[in-house]
Assembly symmetry: C2
Homo-oligomer: 402 residues x 2
Amino acid sequence: MTHGTITDESGRDLGPGLGEVATHTTVLFSAQDPLVLDNGARLGPVQVAYETYGTLNAAGDNAVVLCHALTGDAHAAGHHGDPERRGWWDVLVGPGRAVDTDRSFVVCANLLGGCRGTTGPSDVDPATGEAYGLDFPAFTVADLVRVQRALVRRLGVRRVAAAIGGSLGGMQVLEWTLQAPGEVDRAVVLCASARLSAQNIALSTAAREGILRDPDFQGGRYPGTGRIPRAGLSAARMLGHVTYVSEEALERKFDRRRRPVAGTTSDPSAGGPPAPRDGHDWFAPVFEVEHYLHHQAVSFLERFDALSYLYLTRVMDAFAPFEAPDADERLAGVRDAGTRFLVESFTSDWRFGPAHSDHIAAGLSAAGIPVERRDTVSPWGHDSFLLPLGEHLDLVAGFLAR
Amino acid sequence: MTHGTITDESGRDLGPGLGEVATHTTVLFSAQDPLVLDNGARLGPVQVAYETYGTLNAAGDNAVVLCHALTGDAHAAGHHGDPERRGWWDVLVGPGRAVDTDRSFVVCANLLGGCRGTTGPSDVDPATGEAYGLDFPAFTVADLVRVQRALVRRLGVRRVAAAIGGSLGGMQVLEWTLQAPGEVDRAVVLCASARLSAQNIALSTAAREGILRDPDFQGGRYPGTGRIPRAGLSAARMLGHVTYVSEEALERKFDRRRRPVAGTTSDPSAGGPPAPRDGHDWFAPVFEVEHYLHHQAVSFLERFDALSYLYLTRVMDAFAPFEAPDADERLAGVRDAGTRFLVESFTSDWRFGPAHSDHIAAGLSAAGIPVERRDTVSPWGHDSFLLPLGEHLDLVAGFLAR
């Protein structure tokens, strides 16, 4: 096994990361014993892709579950053969890292409705032999948690020492504590929301619009046709990505710099490249920020699915656990179970910024639940939870260690 | 003529508006005597659609030119037969209003590259008998101003008492003063930018991406095919619209309210409508903010063109007059001509907010040009410049009257 070394933004060595890891799959629900969803629909089989790091102890109580965000997958840490290409939360997870794989049994699963090994709307429905498409049932954050819980039971976990997630991942952590009070000891809810704002919903609606209307979407029947809604999905990714990073982050990284045009000697930063003659060349990437977004979109088209994008964004729109009729009762259960919460936001996050975390903390506190609430200074926006920011990593490590 | 009455947000009567008005067209450049653009391309004929209100005085020096923003048109004030449906800047323009048509000769033209009567990329190129498409030349804010100037000359204007514009309109006003020092006495630059940020560019790139990749875009050859890039253009409009209004404005207007579902008696604000079974119904508008955005998109598809959207957004990306090699020389010309500036922004504008106006004012001030800089408190975001906000209307009126 090859080990990588990563430093945080202050240059501190985070220690050797995990070596090579593998994604596994398991079938948690069958056609005969299906998953029953919030809306009453029955879904089976449900296959789940997951990874584990570290060893489950004899008591089965040292599990840490990582819940991924909208576009994540099961490959949170370590690598799949190339030590330079590491899992999405590698900075947080590994021997001696904040989530210490020498002490904890770490589990990360691809979400229900996803497209990275867990059953989702672009998969084939065994009952019909065709992809589900829009026939795939609607589901909720609570349903995502039902699948997470079924997986950890299957793996022999008796008690979840901690559940950790950012954004949609944080929503699952919060919902888990409400759905099964006492099952999770520590809940780490990072830059999440328990109530999307009108602007949040509006931006997701704009992103979905391009997919739904894309002629290549074909009413959701595109899987297997050789055509996918590239226009809608790439525009959605670009828009989404802009909301994941702060204005300051884009300014620092790109400002208005232009990429030098091959074969010219002109200084592209002053005056820019020669003006194009017409529209044929005019809309290709010129500014570095455009090259960056195009790269994001192209790689997203390779690894993500439009139907999963629709379903998993819609799940977020609906999540409002503190407004549910049984909210008080559920929160009382969490209080009585003694669950401890860390609710962290990042100062420059304009997707689910500090006000969203304040709302979560207030909802918990009002029910008498102890909450550690932190607003970490970061210029990098919503994606800060994925970055090697020393203050953030120490905060999570300290909360888990206490 | 029927007159309408409008009040500002404090209830103050803005007086009777203009009555019925008409849009005219004129051909300003021909194939033989073409418009020569910044990039050297020649374009002719160029037809321009415009409206005028009030009367040009004998000296030809009481003209006020309104420069519209990205999706505007020539119909700024009055109405076209239905007094309830009035021009986009009617609150600002009329007898006794801030731009007083009893005293001024007001001109408003649809922009070059537009789709509301002025020559643009979806028009037929007389030389080929087919729509220009992406063969339409690339152009700049300076080119937009060249057409504005040719129009006012054609109308007999000898001196522009004031040029006024918001957003892309404000960019034209600024560029006009730099291009022809002394031609404009007073420049009103509202929520504009002289240097789009990386985030500004990124959001426009995301919007264009969906249009450019839309299969119905057909490489820009869609005019006349019966198919237009509806997916891309409607998503672009939704995204754009979210950037024109503040988060607070969306919160006040819509919050998370859901529209009652016909035929049900459930209270849609509590708990929401029954969960949909599958994806077929799940992505239709449910939240009021979604209904609003869908209405915006549908009406936009009726009145706006995708190629114009591409061209006019790209024009903004490139505009950086203070970074041009001849900026100092041009600014000195403005200073020597004695042009007076009002540079106004709105507190909640997150598209071209106060920092953009600060940058404009600083660039002018550094050259010794007097600038009145105001940051008007408004919760309504970028679109504030179009609204009947008393403080804003009084500011413009006072600046023009002095």
